[in-house]
Amino acid sequence: MSSVPMAHGLLLAGVLFGLGLVGVVARRNIVFMLLSIEVMLNAAGLAFVVAGSRWGQADGQAMFLLILAMAAAEVSVGLALLIQLHRRFKTVDVDAASNLQG
């Protein structure tokens, strides 16, 4: 890693993760919730790469690849749920699917 301290890289990852978390909690549109989840996964991968680069090891990048595979699987299932939600309720508002709320 060049002259950037690791704490700043991790701070950036934390800020991005927090923004994604705010997006998931604040938005009720399922498209934006999925986008926010992508932001959070990306921030977690950034933390791994920053730490791996701090020690000059490839482990961080290997973990990022696994996170990438997980994000791809997650987004495919999430988008299938989005299509199903839109088909059943004619909306992209997740609060429409509240049958389990009781």
């Binding site: 890693m1 002259s3 595979a69 988008l79």
Partner: protein
Amino acid sequence: MSATFYLLAAVAVIATVLVITHTNAVHALLYLIVSLLAVALIFFTLGAPFVAALELIIYAGAIMVLFIFVMMLLNLGQAATQQERRWLDPRLWVGPAILTIVLLAELAVTLSNTNRLAGGSVVGPKQVGILMFGPYLLGVELASILLLAGLVGAYHLARRDTRRERGEKPA
């Protein structure tokens, strides 16, 4: 090279804030792509070029195209030509374009003095590959099973329920 990092970090944070505050899904998607580009450049400046390339190809390429594809799928009922005209509105692309120009300038600066940037700790694809197919082999196999499960799950969830559409009781 720390100024590069902080500028990239600022671009990433601004783009992400705009992602979660925008009301138009396509606008938010454009800003998310900018955010991913910024993070990819951060990976590059951190000495991880392989992961930077994968971030561009898989995240900004494949996954975002999947998002756009689904959004197009859901918008089929509306008047298409009016929508096309709306998408050509400069307000849609000026913000992402400015942020992307900042990234392009940074890329040019970064590439013009690569040897100064890396600090001698570039971890290339070869080391990552040795690690992935050595100690992390089990993780790679599990990731392939996870992707298969995602494939099956997406197919099952997005399938049309013909019984329900014919008005019969679902089994």
